[in-house]
Structure formats: C-alpha cells, structure tokens
C-alpha cells in the first residue's frame, strides 16, 4: 500500500452488525483490495434513520452527532447500504440549523460519505473486481441508493465483472420491495402485497440469486421467498463482489 492510500472509516450499519457481519467483512475486503486502509470506529451504533423517519428529529440529531464524532478525520466514510448512506449524505445536514457548528460538521461528513459500491466505482475508480461467484443473478435497486444517491449502473457494472455471474434483469427492478423500515411491521398487509409483486418479477427473471445493496430490503424479500419455499438464494452485493460464496445465503441453513 502506498502512502496515498485513503483512510476509510467503515460505517457497518446496525443491521449488518447484528444480522450479517459477513457483509461487513466483504466490504472490508473490497475496500482493501481497492487500496484503502480500513478502520472500524468502535463507538458507532446506528445512523438514526428509524428515529428520523418516525418523526423524532431530536433523537436523530443526537445519533447523527455521535456518528459525526466517531468518523472525524477519516478521508472517507463508507457504508454497505444506500439507505444509511442516504441518511448521512442527504439528511444529516437537514437535521441542524444552517450556520450552526453541527450543520457545518454534518455537511463535512456528508461530503466524505458514500455507499460502498458507488464509492468503489466513483472514488476508487474500480471498474472490475477479481472474484468468482457462480450465480444467475437479478439485481433489485433499493430505493434510497437509487433515488437519493443515484446508484444504478455501478453495482451492475461490477457484478458483470465477477467470474461466473450472469445478470438477468427483472421487470420493475426499481420498484420498492415493501420494506420501508418500520413500515413493513406497521402495515404488513400493504408490505406483503408489494412483496408479492416483487417476488413475481424475481421469479419471472429466471435468476437463481437475488442481489441488492441493502440488508433491510434483502431480509424482507428473503423472508417471504423462504416462507414460500423458494430456492432462490439471497445475497448482499458486497458478498458477491468479494466472491464469498462460502457463507450461507441469507435466511438459509448453515
């Protein structure tokens, strides 16, 4: 590694930390392969989006301050999630009054923060990864990554470079899967209807693997796929790009 290697703080995200650490390790591998020095601040918990989306701005702002402090000094902050990435990049600055010290710090953090795959392609100029992963894959665009951060081609471009991956586009890949954080438990009926449509398109694509960039959406879709006995495997994009086919797919037996 050269002296110019950027120092990257990994924002693990609360879901990856609790449910699927292998995504975090895949992210570390990808970042290191791209030439970054990766550190994981210990004091991080959650980006605060659940509070923000529940109308509790104060808690969201408190948690944002924690994240801002935890990631001071890193050249870049990277999250394996478009949703948490979007929260930091788009919404942190909205939490504080313009002109305040907090606001300036939030703007500064936002400018240094990225979703993982778009960071690899846009900042580290990665155009291909050195990985093998056998999969006929279909990619679901998670909403925040797509509409808040404009991520669309980046994951497809890198996935196409993985040896063994063939991409099969599904209809309406850009339509929400029905997760929506607390939405999916507050309105399970609507969420289920949205999932039902999503699963129909996934099945019709002919893919054997479903890939997305956000664990929340993946848990939602995997949960229903498995409930219905589907054999389609569910993976986070980082796992595939890192060639981690050894870890069992989401919601499947060890």
């Amino acid at each position: 590694m050269t002296q110019t290697s950027p120092r990257v703080g990994l924002f693990v995200t609360c879901l990856v930390d609790l449910i699927r650490p292998s995504i975090g390790f895949a992210a570390v591998k990808l970042l290191e392969d791209a030439g970054c020095i990766v550190e994981v601040p210990e004091v991080q918990t959650c980006c605060g989006q659940p509070a923000f989306n529940s109308g509790d701005r104060k808690t969201a702002a408190d948690l944002a301050r924690n994240v801002i402090a935890a990631f001071k000094g890193y050249d870049h902050v990277v999250a394996p999630s478009g949703s948490c990435g979007g929260m930091i990049v788009k919404h942190y600055p909205e939490l504080f009054a313009e002109g305040s010290v907090d606001h300036a710090a939030a703007v500064d953090l936002a400018a240094r923060s990225h979703e993982l795959v778009s960071f690899l392609t846009r900042v580290m100029k990665v155009t291909a990864v050195d990985a093998k992963f056998p999969a006929k894959a279909t990619y679901h665009d998670s909403c925040s990554g797509l509409r808040e951060l404009g991520i669309r081609n980046e994951p497809r471009q890198l996935l196409a470079s993985v040896e063994g991956v063939t991409l099969k586009e599904m209809t309406d890949a850009e339509v929400c899967c029905g997760f929506g954080g607390t939405f999916c438990v507050k309105y399970p009926g609507i969420s289920d209807k949205m999932l039902e449509k999503k699963l129909k398109h996934i099945a019709a694509s002919g893919a054997d693997t479903l890939i997305a960039g956000d664990l929340g959406c993946l848990m939602n879709m995997a949960g229903k796929l498995k409930r219905e006995g589907s054999h389609i495997r569910v993976r986070h994009v980082a796992e595939v790009l890192a060639g981690d086919s050894a870890t069992p797919p989401l919601a499947e037996a060890e």
């Binding site: 918990t45 529940s54 609507i190």
Partner: protein
C-alpha cells in the same frame, strides 16, 4: 367533510381482499407508467420544463395575494364575478345562492376535485337541485354513489365488467346485445344520455386547472370535451377553484400544460384545452349569460410559509398516485379522504387534521418514486416525514411503538451498552433459528412474521468479530 381516513387500517384490509379492485389496479397501473415514460423520453426538455413549472408556482405563492387581486380585477372587467370562500361551507353557500337565484333545477358538472372537497353534490341534492356529472368517470361514480378513487381517473378502481354492468343497470333502455366492452362505446352511450341534459341544465359548474391573472381566464383540460358543453350551453357558468390555481400569464399556463398531460396520461396535450373569460359578449354566438368564479381557500393560506407550502404547487396530475406502490396496492378509497395517493397523504392531514389522518403519512416506505415523477418537483417524502414529526410532537403514535423506539434510542446513544445487548441478541436470535437460518415466529414481531420469515443472525456481531480478528 365525511372521511374514513381514521379507519385506514380497516380500509386497507378490505381493499386487499377485494379481488375486483386488485384486478382493476393491475390492469391500469402499469399502463399509466409506461405512457408517461414514453412521453417524457420524447421531450428532451421535459426536466427543464419541470424546473420552470416549479419556479412559476413558487413565484405565484410568494405573491399570491397580489395575483389573486389582479385576477379578480380582470374577471370583473370581462363581466364576471368572483366569490371568495374561506371555507367549504362558504363555497357551497355561494354556489347554491347563484343556483337558487336563477331557480336552477339541474346543474351539469365538469370534473372538479374542489367539488369533491366541498361535497357539492350532496349539498345540491339536499336543496332540491339535481347535479349531473358529465365526465364519464365521474358519471360512473355518481351512478355508484361513490367517491373518485383517483384524481384524474375517478373510476380507475372499476373493472370493465363492473362498468358495463353499472351502465346496463342504469340505462334500462339498452339493447342487451349492444357491445359495451370498449371505452369508446361507453363514452358514446354516456353522451347519448347526457346530450339532452346539457341543454336542460340551468347552470354548468366546472373546475379549473388554471386561473390566469393577466387575463382573468380560467382554463380546463379534458379528454371528452364534456367540459366545453357544460360551460357553454347553460345560462350560467360557475367555476370553482382553489386559490393556488393562479398563474401569472397565459405563457406560464402553457409552460405548465406541457408537463401536465405528459405526467398525467402520457399525452402531449389533453384532447381539449378550454379557455373561458367572462360571460358571452355582445356579438358572441354562444356562451353563458353569467360567469362566476368561486375561489376556495379551505385552509390553504394557513399552509403558506410553512414546511408544507410546496404542496400548493400541485397541479393534480395524478402521476404520484400512478407511481406509488402503496396506492397501487390498496387503491384510492382506502385513503378515506378526497385526495388519495402521496399528495393525498400530504394534503389530507392539512384538511382534516393530523389526529384523524395520522395513518396516511405513515403508510409510505419513502421509496421516493412520487417525488421522482412529480412534474412540479414537490418533495412529497419530505412532507410526509414532516407530518410524522407533527404526529410525534403530539404524542399520537401507538404506545408500543413509542416505547420500542424509545428503548432503541436509549441504547443507540450508549455504544458500550448497545454492543452488549446486540451481542446477546445476535446469539439468542441465532439459536432460535435452530440451524435453519430463519424463524417463522418471533415474540413482539408478528407484524414481520405474519407474512415472512425472519432471517436469523449469523451469531456474533460484526464489532465482536472485528475485535477478535484484531487480537
């Protein structure tokens, strides 16, 4: 206003179980989307026009009082009259007053959401006046005694079979062999019935897509031409519109018109764009003898200058409904108010109060597709979130949710404690999966597990493993 907004969860249940509704929604939803997308692709300057359209309305809203005054002057100069209505009651009273003065017995009506907002038809009926809806969709809704389920396609919740059955029930003279399976045949059939009504009507009521301050003109767009007959044939024409329909000039109206139909139906332009300015002048061949404009506020001016002001840019194109996965899942009636879909979830709390309408801003995944397609670039998710903030401030959320979020926030603010708890949770939940990698039930999480399994954690937290690896 009568509303079932408060019972949103029950309305949703009914909607999800209604197979005809579900069938109708899957038929029409995708069609609107592909038409809009084609229209957009065919016009390279579409997004630039959206910026202009937004700027026009922002400018109007900043000087709304001036433009409204200007508009009134011009209407009066053209021989018309403006009636200001602060509330729905005042609007109803003004319209009824006009109708009673000319001893109206039937009133033809063009499509108008403001008419729905002030519940005009019921008021007419209660006062012995027969309202006749002339837009095909509205006509159907009137036959069925329902409310529109969509801003521009009021009967979108109905299947063709239902529509045909309704026609046959109401139009008993119909030859049972007559083919009514296609829309044009239905429009033709409605026209036959409506023809005489246009001539018999004493007053014609229309909405307005725009009120033009520079000329005192009201503009409506329709696809069936029913609006023209409604406003030209009766002796009296009453326009009902809300204050934010104002645009400064005809030029501004044309700019917004270029994004309106494209966003709504994917047409370059609606079939009819009709301008009316004042009553019939000496020498005119046709036109009404009286021209009235009832301008409704109904809480809108309270929204000016607040975080909700942007909602007043809305041109009621319906694109946000067509692209909303929640609207497409439950249809418009579930929202229980006058305006369904994303814009309805922003407007309804302003009309009926967040207490009654608190479900609407919550029934969104913030997927952002509405904002992505809105021709007026209204930040709908941001405003839905702002309503949730009001709800939070007023302590309207269910206790269980408040407690849960409160506990989570308490932990999330204390990283050390948080990591102890998550380590424990990762292990306990992992074990609950019994090696299958998932669980089909989970205490306190029935909202999740009623329709999907819960993926089991891998067993250790990332932080835990990261530390172990570094040792």
């Amino acid at each position: 206003m009568d509303t079932s907004t408060a019972t949103f969860p029950q309305n949703v249940k009914r909607a999800l179980a209604d197979s005809q509704l579900q069938h109708a929604m899957t038929e029409t939803g995708p069609r609107f989307i592909s038409k809009r997308s084609k229209a957009r692709e065919a016009l390279p300057e579409f997004d630039a026009l959206r910026d202009q359209a937004r700027d026009i309305k922002d400018h109007v809203l900043a000087y709304l009082d001036l433009y409204l005054e200007r508009y009134e002057e011009k209407v009066v100069a053209a021989g018309g009259k403006v009636h200001w209505a602060a509330t729905a009651e005042e609007a109803r009273a003004a319209i009824l007053g006009i109708c009673q003065r000319v001893k109206a017995r039937t009133v033809t009506k063009g499509k108008s959401m403001i008419s729905e907002e002030i519940d005009l038809n019921h008021h007419f009926e209660a006062n012995g006046i027969t309202p006749v809806e002339t837009d095909l969709g509205e006509y159907l809704i009137q036959l069925r005694k329902e409310r529109p389920s969509h801003i521009i396609a009021p009967a979108v919740h109905l299947t063709r079979d239902q529509v045909e059955a309704d026609f046959r029930k109401a139009h008993t003279h119909l030859d049972p062999k007559r083919d009514l399976s296609e829309i044009p045949a239905l429009v033709e059939e409605a026209r036959q019935v409506l023809r005489q009504k246009y001539f018999d009507a004493d007053v014609g009521v229309t909405g307005a897509n725009f009120l033009v301050a520079e000329t005192g003109t009201s503009i409506i767009v329709t696809n069936e031409g029913n609006g023209d007959l409604t406003q030209i044939l009766p002796k009296v024409h009453v326009v009902i519109a809300s204050i934010e329909k104002i645009v400064p000039t005809l030029e501004d109206a044309s700019t917004i018109l270029r994004v309106l139909a494209r966003s709504a139906t994917g047409q370059d332009f609606s079939n009819y764009t009709t301008l009316s300015t004042g009553p019939k002048r000496p020498g005119d061949l046709d036109g009404p003898e009286e021209y009235h404009v009832v301008i409704l506020d109904n809480g809108r001016s309270d929204v000016l200058g607040t975080e909700f002001q942007d909602m007043l840019r809305c041109i009621r194109c319906g694109a946000c409904l067509n692209h909303c996965p929640v609207y497409q899942a439950v249809g418009g009636h579930a929202y229980g108010g006058v305006y369904p879909g994303p814009i309805g979830s922003v407007v309804t709390p302003a009309l009926v109060g967040i207490e009654k309408a608190k479900h609407l801003p919550n029934a969104s995944t913030f997927c952002g597709r509405c904002e992505e397609v809105c021709p007026m670039r209204i930040p709908l998710p941001r405003m839905l979130r702002a309503w949730r903030e009001k709800e939070f401030e007023k302590h309207l959320q269910p206790q269980a949710m408040r407690t849960g979020l409160g506990l989570w926030a308490f932990l999330a603010k204390r990283p050390k404690l948080y990591q102890m708890v998550t380590r424990l949770a990762a292990r306990v939940l992992h074990n609950r999966g019994h090696g299958t990698g998932r669980m089909s039930s989970l205490p306190l999480a029935s909202g999740w597990t009623q329709c999907r399994d819960f993926p089991a954690p891998q067993g250790k937290t990332f932080q835990q493993m990261w530390k172990e690896r570094r040792k």
